[in-house]
Structures are given as structure tokens and as C-alpha cells.
Symmetry: C2
Subunit: 334 residues, 2 copies
Amino acid sequence: MTSNSIRQKEIAEKTGYSINTVSLALKGSPRISEETRLKIMECARQLNYIPNVVARSLVQKKTNTIGIILTELMNPILTETAQEIEQLLKQAGYNMMLMITNFSPEQEAEALDVLVSRQVDGIMMYPLVRANFSKIRAMHDQRFPIVLLAGGEYDSPSDAVYMNRQAGAYKAVSHFIQDGHRRIGFIRGAMNDEEKQNGYTSALQDNGIDFDPGLVSIIQGDGYKAGYASVQSLYEKGKATAVLCSKDHIALGAMRWCREQGIRVPEDIAFIGFDDIAASSFADVPLTSVQYDVKSVTKKATELLLKRIEEKEHKVGAPLQKIAIDPKLIIRQS
Amino acid sequence: MTSNSIRQKEIAEKTGYSINTVSLALKGSPRISEETRLKIMECARQLNYIPNVVARSLVQKKTNTIGIILTELMNPILTETAQEIEQLLKQAGYNMMLMITNFSPEQEAEALDVLVSRQVDGIMMYPLVRANFSKIRAMHDQRFPIVLLAGGEYDSPSDAVYMNRQAGAYKAVSHFIQDGHRRIGFIRGAMNDEEKQNGYTSALQDNGIDFDPGLVSIIQGDGYKAGYASVQSLYEKGKATAVLCSKDHIALGAMRWCREQGIRVPEDIAFIGFDDIAASSFADVPLTSVQYDVKSVTKKATELLLKRIEEKEHKVGAPLQKIAIDPKLIIRQS
């Protein structure tokens, strides 16, 4: 007798149903009423027997559930990422379970543990730079399917599909320079934006423009309000005629400040943002933006993860893969 | 020998580690290296032995994980709801696992099953109206802790904490009437907005204004674009001088159309939206809005769920509870 059938006998004894009924209920058979099934499941839960979806997976060695780990949900790009992945997975017959880390390395490590312990078949994550790379590398080395949605610029610990943010910033600054700008500022959010600054500085350098630290403003807090509050010094003291912002919300806030001051965009000062969120195309002066191509990233990442899961089932090996997606500059009036 | 220790012996045999090492690894002991722990966990996974977080919960009969089910993530109110709940749960020592239903009754039912089978300690959900109420009622009757974040206006199948949307619409329309409006339109999103329409019609009725079906426009699709496209007929054919919109995004889109046509807000036509999202306070003409008080809803719902979990542990009973939160009208210039 297997330990599963011992447990089923226990559940039958406790609930007063027959072993046959218990077995059918745990398999999710439509022959069992919802009420009976829930009673049996609750008993199974108390006995730490795992019913239904997992019971099926005990046979398949699969749960058809994928874990997603994101840093936050207030960023519209990440919200859209979650939404797209959910739909792609649903089409492929998988459920998505989402956890968020609030930019905390400890929460990120815990989310990985929780999802592995809940026996997800694989994980897609938007990682904190380097925070848990050794843990992720160890998981990858153990052939746990895990695809990163950023961080491919670094020594990536696992498969990664990512927007090349450095190339995006380079493209934006080059666009400013072609338009004749030489005093180009950069408003940088504190989180995860070092590649954007790398792209900014290398575009200046390649065009013979000296880097001026007075033209870089590193901000904290909410994008819109921080953009609103930080542009004045770049415009007045830094004499910037163009400003790259590491998020669209920052640029939208900065442009609002300009409008209130009677400073014309783009005549007096031009702006480019990052991510091309919906609000950017609807702004008073529609915002030029480096597009974050959510659809491409999520599609390629999901395909890669499902391929890894399949390879694992068939015990086929394959080297770590990095897929960089080159961003487009969406040129509007700003 | 319990079935757990039989499994640990099996894992020890398969991996070549001692039973003691296996046991420590599965408990998440820091004495075991990450690499060893991952090898043991992977083996445990293959043997369908559930490690670590769940192993701990086998003792506690708790997983300290709460499931959250939302209809979508593109609605900023739901995004904020998820973010707030995550932080409240984290403070209370719980992890959050989020699933989304895309407004599909089948996906909603499946999300409930998946989360129960993953042994979450409780669920908070933003339910589809009536879709799975009998299932939710059966779960509630089985004393599975489940708190709804909407739907308390109906014959609620479980505990519910919700914004009183009907009262919100009533308040908004009364505000229009106090300002002298008699031709009041309503642009209604297709989903879940029947309570708002009830509030709209009863405010008209209580003020002796006849209901004119030509002043109600039920829209599909994206809020901003749909608002932009639907306001013309209310303004031109319906002669509306004020319009209640069931989402702020709808009002913002409608106001953009007015601005492009040279129609003044609020002089020619006034607007009130729902939810008081961040973009509403930043709009050209800051939008008056019925506030969705995410912080109150999430705080009360989380408290109620944790109380239910505790009551269940102590086998204490309590009647079903409904907590309605009365919305404020945030009056701005629109």
C-alpha cells in the first residue's frame, strides 16, 4: 500500500465517506458534489495530504504552475508584463502565481524558496541586480527552469530575456545630439538604472561632449512628483536644453513643471522618457520615449521557459541563453 | 516510522547525503550549504516530498501563505490593492501569492482550486459578480477563510469588505444636481458597474429628474480611448451638461476630446470620475472623483482574514461579516 492510499483511508475514516468517494473527490471527479469535495479537501488539508491539482501532478510530476517574481506592481511596465505572461501561460495550459519583492533582497530570496516549495514547474523573474545571483545560479545549475526578465547585461546567473537599456539610452542621447543639443541632462531613478546611465555617458563620449556631473540628478521616490521637483535645477543651474529621464513618469512630471513656468517643450527644453507607457502618448505634448517592448520580452521569455521545462522532462541539456531585445525610440513632439 | 521519515530516508539514499543532512536541509537550516540544499530539494521534488516552507507548515499546519485573486492588473486600483495587501501581509509574517482571472468565471474557479490545493491559509479576492458564488459559499461553509473585496451589495457568499459604489454614484450625481445640472449623463464601463448605475438612477429619481436612456452610454474596451470616443453623442445629441464616468480613465479621455473641440470643462460640461487615481489630480483640469479608498479596504480585509484564520485555529465560530466603506467625493475643478 502506498503512502497516498494510506492517507486516503485515513481521510475516508475521518469523513465517513468511502475510499472510492475520497479518491474520486481528490481527483476532482465531476461525480462528486462540490460540498462533499470541499469536506474531503478540508480533511485532506488537515492531514497534510495534498489534493486535486497536486494529486494530478503527483502522477505527471508537474503542477502546470509557473511562478513569477516582480519587484513591484506600481510600475506600469511590470503590471503589463504580469498580464501578458499570464495570458501566454494560460494559452499554454499553465497557471501563473505571482509574488512581489518590494526591491528587498530578503523577500526575493524568500519568494524563490516559497515558489520552489510550492512545486512550480519554473520561474520567471525581474531580478534585483546581483542580490541573489548566487542562489539563482545554483538553481540553474540544478536544472531548475528559471528565466530572468532583466540583468542580461551582467554575468547572468541563468537564462535571460531583456531589453538592452544601455542601447536605449545611447539611442535617445544620440537623437538629442543630432537635433543640435550639447547640454543634455539625465534624471535617474535610484533603482536598477545604472545601464541607462552607462548608455548616456557613452553617447556623450562618442560625440566628444564632456560629462558634467551637474547635469545628472539622481532622484528618490515617486516618478511624477520627483520629476516635477528635480527639473528646475537642471534647467536653471545646469542650463540643460534636453533631458533624458529614466522613466516616462519622471519626464511627464518634469514637463508639467515646465508648463506651469511657461517654459516651452521642446523649444526651450526637450525631453525623452523610458518605457513608452500609455500616458506618454496622451500627454499635452506627446512624449518621445524609449520603448520597453513588453510583448517581445514576455513572449520570448515564456517560450524559453517552456522549452527549458520540456528539455528537463526529456533530460536534454542546453547552454545558458541570453536574448537582448533592442529598443526602439518612439519619436513624438517632446 | 512516519511517512515523512520514510521519504527522508529515500532522499538520503538517492542523494548520498545522511538522513540528518537531509532533515536539516528540508528544515532550511543554515548549517547546510545552498548547493546541497538545492540538490536535496530537487530530489524531494522528484519524489513529491514537499520541502522547506511546507515541511515547516507540516508541523504548524500552516503555510503562512495567502492567496489573492484579482480580475486583472491593468486597473490601477487593483494594482494598488495587490501592493497594499502584500505589505500588510508581510508585516503580519505572511507571503502573498497572486492569481488573475481576466474576468473569466472558469479562470476564477480554477484559481480558487489551485490556491486551495497549494494549501494557502486563506484567500482574498475581487470576485466576478455571482460567477462562483455557490463555490465560494461552500468554501465559507467549510470554514475556509475567504474575504471578498467587492460584491458585498449582493447576497454575499462569504465575508466581504467593499466600497459602497452605489452610495458613491449617488453622492456624485447629487453634487451635480446641487450645482444646478439637470441633464446628467453616465458613461458606464461594461464590467461590474451595475451598482454605480443604481446609484445614478436613484439620485435622479430622488431629485425628481426623469431617467433618459439617451444619456447613458455603455462602453467597451480601453477606458481612456472609449471615454474619448463616447462623450460626443452625450454632449451633442443628449445635451448633457454633466457626465458621471464609471472610471477616471473614461473621464480623462472624455475631457481630452472636449479640449480638442474647444469645449470648456467645467463651464460647458462637467465631469466626475470614479476611483481617484493618481493621474486624475495631475490632469489639465484636475478631475473630481469618487475615491476608492484602497488603504481602508485592504487594511480591513486583511485584518478580517487574519482574524478568521486565527478563529479557525482555535475552532471559534463567528457569523459572516460585511463591512461597507462609504466613499468620499474628492472635489476638484472638473
